[in-house]
């Protein structure tokens, strides 16, 4: 029996100690918001927070979480930064298929906790482990700036929300 706290709730799992946290979450805790993309810490789709730190749950054995706190996408709206990031993702209409976005959001929340005013370079560094095959990166950058409350030149520049399209639509 391994005992962990998931999203504030104490849970016990009777699984082999080497079972990755991802599969405990998905197949045993029935929390399917954390996604399986590669299983080798290469894509970030499975990112969760372990005691506040972002980890790739697909390669982290459940034994590593014994006695610790796991936060998943399902509970990130209880966090004030988490909520802001989710809202920014909505405002920027970031998601396409959405499959990577749980992991993107968990990485973005961790970034903003460390750097409340991130530069583009800091964003690139923090988010480079999260693949989006749909290619939503420019909107992810804009959304992170937005969640940080930055209306900097950089945020404006990378924003997809200039009026390029609209002028033409109305023409």
């Amino acid at each position: 029996m391994i005992s962990v706290t998931i999203n504030g709730e104490q849970r016990q799992f009777d699984v082999p100690a080497d079972t990755p946290i991802l599969w405990v979450l998905r197949d045993f805790a029935k929390l399917t918001g954390s996604r399986f993309g590669c299983g080798m810490a290469l894509c970030g789709a499975c990112t969760v927070h372990l005691d506040g730190q972002p980890i790739r749950s697909c390669v982290s054995p459940i034994s590593m979480a014994a006695g610790k706190h796991i936060t998943t996408i399902e509970a990130i709206e209880n966090d004030s930064i988490g909520r802001r990031v989710q809202q920014a993702w909505m405002d920027e209409a970031v998601a396409q298929c959405g499959y990577c976005q749980s992991g993107q959001i968990m990485s973005a929340v961790a970034l903003l906790k460390q750097h409340p005013n991130p530069t583009d370079a800091q964003i690139d560094t923090a988010m480079a482990g999260n693949i989006c095959r749909c290619g939503t990166y420019t909107r992810i950058r804009s959304a992170i700036h937005r969640a940080a409350g930055q209306r900097t030149a950089s945020a404006e520049q990378t924003s997809n929300r200039n009026s390029d399209l609209f002028t033409e639509v109305k023409a």
Partner: protein, 790 residues
């Protein structure tokens, strides 16, 4: 088409003898019945059939009955059905927006329901070919308008007044003379009981009455604040969105399969003694190898079934399988680098002529100078972020045996028919529930993984089985994007104008998946950029050279347009450079005066399934996107050292796209993309923000195609196993800025074009042309990889 070729070409038979007869032949051979369905999706060109185009030509066509898509409740809530697959293009929002707008619904009261597979009821559901909005905008408008008129009629009946005095506004009907009103909810039951008005009596909204269609969403400062948010947006950011692997049945088993490393190889023997020791492993089952060509049949292999995914993965890791390469034949020795050399040799010899205009040989004889170049584009895997997954359960019920499927597929009806066939059931006994797709890009148009789950559930006596593909499975066993060698020759006349153009394309065909011995590209494939070349050149000759498929070849977002556009648009830039001309001016001159070319005059057969009269090749629209992209990018401006602009344009899926990339190459050979300017003309844009997001996404994927993405094979096996070997762009490699520019976005005199795919083909050539401008180094082999390292 040339009559005197000596090369045998089975695919020609498909197009010219009778496609319908060919399909009947396929249907007889069981496994290949799938191919017939795919082929039916193309324009039916058999001589006796009335020529059909667009949505009319698709299996089960379209449906515009409002009662199929709209249900009104007495409390005012409205449920709208989306019957197309959602894979990130936003169709669940866009289709419903069209219905809701014509209907006059208040978005706050609308909910969306995803249709199960049922083409008899909903019309065609095969979500590929950038067709959803192009084929469904008109039927959805009619369905919405019909229901609106039924509500108005119901109100008129209630008040005993003329229907012409009753007007639906937002979620209510107003009696104009008196100002009385009834809500949609109050009218729901009475409206539903009325006859659906005839199509010719429908009053569609005028464009100025649209509240959602052709509007920008709330987040844009200029928005009218009415355009709805993505229906799945909040579910996605809270992790509640359901993809195939998020669904579970009681007593379900989790399966992972060891598949043959080479296409066609079989299981010789296996040892599962260690596997069965793994905690949670329940059973190991060997599956038959599909005979080649395998169409959408599963590859076979050995399946490990367990009580959870991790146990199944561990069990497979512990499995020892010996493979028999014999049945794979040449595939068991497939080496992609040797193959590229073979393709290059083939490209030196004449191929099968697929378009001939003027006399290229004479142009060569009279030429002042000639220029040749060859371009190579490798295999790729679609690699959607969500690897394939499917669940099947078979149950004995009071009404006989029924199968339930949960999966994410682009073509649900194909999954339904295929599962029914292999289980000996009727399609009506099979329910296919459609989860969201975590990306598709063509991979999930092939439901082999659904069939695997059906076979395993059957083997387990009907117990629910979820088949989970790992990333390694996805990369090793995809239906790969083709590999291509594009050979070009051009002649310049005495005035330094291009007088002749030869394009010889050597590339395995997707048809090799469906019929034995196919070595030449099909009509559909050469119609993706080769035949429909828009240039005003006196002598144009296009040829297809033989290349067999040694892996499963399948469609990948924008398909053969990728290598064809890369070759054509790189070669044009090289010609411009050789002629000492500005690339943009040279390209515009090649396009010639604004005109509409009948694709049939170019020997085009397919035209993306669209009516050539409605959808000609419009050189003015080419010019329009080129002018827009170059203007916004500041074409011709002075740039610092090691930095350059590159241009490319391409028409595909009846839409036009031009791109200018602003690229810097560091001394170490690293490519930094400062900015992409994308001008796009797909005619009217129904959901402009989702059009924009598709262009942004295609741009990023195209940067990958240009810089890093490739699949290679050695000794018959794919060399890339996961994202450390199969490289796709990450945020730090993506363009710093992507600017999209719409052309003709509100021009309702144009028919709708495709959106999901046409943004992709021009990216890699624009990128490579920019690299040339920055460094003087010409990239002829994709991807760039370390070719720029000094």
């Amino acid at each position: 088409m040339s009559q005197n070729t000596t090369i045998q070409q089975p695919s020609v038979m498909l197009a010219n003898v009778s496609r319908r007869r060919f399909m009947q032949g396929l249907a007889v051979s069981g496994a290949l019945v799938m191919a017939a369905r795919w082929d039916l999706a193309m324009a039916d060109d058999s001589p006796n059939a009335a020529q059909k185009y667009g949505g009319d030509a698709m299996p089960h066509g379209w449906v515009d009955n409002p009662n199929v898509f709209i249900s009104l409740a007495a409390d005012g809530k409205i449920t709208l059905i989306n019957h197309r697959a959602e894979m990130g293009q936003g169709i669940r929002t866009s289709i419903v927006m069209v219905l809701a707008d014509e209907l006059g619904a208040d978005w706050q009261l609308v909910s969306v329901e995803q249709a199960q597979a049922n083409e008899e009821k909903y019309g065609n559901q095969n979500t590929d070919g950038s067709r959803s909005m192009r084929h469904w905008f008109d039927p959805m408008r009619r369905a919405g308008a019909a229901m609106r008129q039924m509500l108005e009629q119901a109100a008129a009946n209630h008040w005993h007044v003329a229907a012409s005095d009753c007007l639906a506004t937002v979620h209510q009907v107003v009696h104009e003379p008196t100002g009385r009103s009834l809500s949609f909810g109050e009218l729901a039951a009475a409206a539903a009981a009325l006859e659906v008005p005839a199509r010719d009596s429908l009053r569609l909204k005028t464009t100025d009455q649209w509240r959602y269609i052709n509007q920008l969403p709330k987040a844009y400062p200029e928005s009218n604040q009415q355009q709805p948010l993505a229906v799945d947006g909040w579910d996605i950011v809270t992790g509640k969105a359901k993809y195939a692997a998020d669904v579970e049945f009681d007593n379900m088993l989790y399966a992972v399969i060891a598949r043959p490393p080479s296409y066609g190889s079989a299981v010789k023997s296996w040892d599962d003694s260690e596997t069965l020791k793994v905690d949670g492993v329940v059973k190991v089952i060997a599956l038959p190898t599909a005979s080649q060509p395998s169409a959408f049949e599963p590859l076979g292999g050995v399946a490990v079934l367990a009580t959870n995914t991790w146990a199944a993965i561990k069990g497979r890791n512990a499995l020892k399988v010996e493979w028999d390469k014999g049945p794979a034949g040449d595939n068991g020795r497939y080496d992609s680098s040797t193959f590229s050399q073979q393709m290059q040799q083939t490209a030196q010899l004449p191929g099968k002529v697929v378009r001939q205009q003027g006399d290229f040989v004479a142009a060569q004889q009279q030429a002042n100078s000639t220029f040749k170049a060859e371009y190579y584009a490798p295999h790729m895997a679609q690699a959607p972020m969500e690897p394939p997954a499917a669940i099947v359960r078979i149950q004995q019920t009071d009404n006989g045996i029924k199968a339930d499927v949960w999966t994410s597929v682009q073509n649900p009806q194909l999954a339904r028919d295929g599962v029914a066939k292999r289980l000996g059931l009727q399609p009506t006994d099979v329910t296919v529930n459609c989860a969201l797709l975590g990306g598709g890009f063509g991979r999930k148009a092939k439901p082999d993984y659904v069939f695997e789950a059906a076979d395993l559930s059957k083997a387990m006596g009907g117990r629910p089985v979820r088949v989970q593909w790992t990333r390694e499975d996805d990369l090793h066993h995809s239906f790969f994007h083709t590999v291509a060698l594009e050979h070009f020759e051009a002649t310049f006349d005495q005035q330094q104008a291009v007088s002749g153009w030869l394009h010889r394309s050597v590339s395995p065909s997707i048809y090799s998946l469906f019929a034995p011995g196919v070595k030449l590209q099909s009509d559909m494939e050469v119609d993706q950029g080769i035949r429909n070349l828009p240039f005003d050149i006196p002598a144009i000759q296009a040829e297809s050279g033989e290349a067999p498929g040694h892996v499963r070849i399948g469609w990948f977002r924008s398909v053969y347009n990728i290598p064809h556009a890369f070759g054509i648009q790189s070669f044009v830039a090289e010609l411009a450079h050789k002629a000492g001309r500005d690339h943009k001016e040279f390209l515009l001159q090649l396009l010639g005066p604004d005109r509409q070319i009948d694709p049939r005059s170019q020997q085009v057969v397919w035209n993306y399934g669209e009516n050539p009269e409605l959808y000609p090749i419009d050189t003015g629209r080419f010019r329009g996107v080129i002018e827009k992209a170059t203007k916004e990018a500041g074409w011709g401006k002075k740039l610092p050292k090691n930095r350059g602009l590159g241009l490319a344009v391409h028409q595909s899926f009846v839409s036009y796209c031009a791109v200018v990339m602003d690229v810097e190459v560091s001394d170490a050979g690293e490519v930094i993309i400062h900015r992409a300017d994308i001008a796009f003309d797909c005619g009217p844009q129904i959901n402009p923000d989702r059009v924009r997001s598709q262009l942004e996404g295609a741009c990023v994927m195209g940067v990958g195609i240009g810089l890093m993405t490739q699949i290679t094979a050695k000794d018959g096996a794919i060399e890339q196993g996961n994202f450390h070997q199969y490289l796709v762009p990450r945020i730090n490699q993506a363009p710093k800025q992507i600017h999209t520019w719409a052309v003709n976005a509100s021009n309702m005199s144009l028919p709708l074009g495709g959106v999901g795919e046409p943004g992709l083909p021009p990216i890699a050539p624009a990128l490579c042309n920019a690299i040339f401008a920055a460094t003087g180094k010409r990239i002829r082999n994709l991807p760039v990889g370390n070719q720029l390292a000094s």
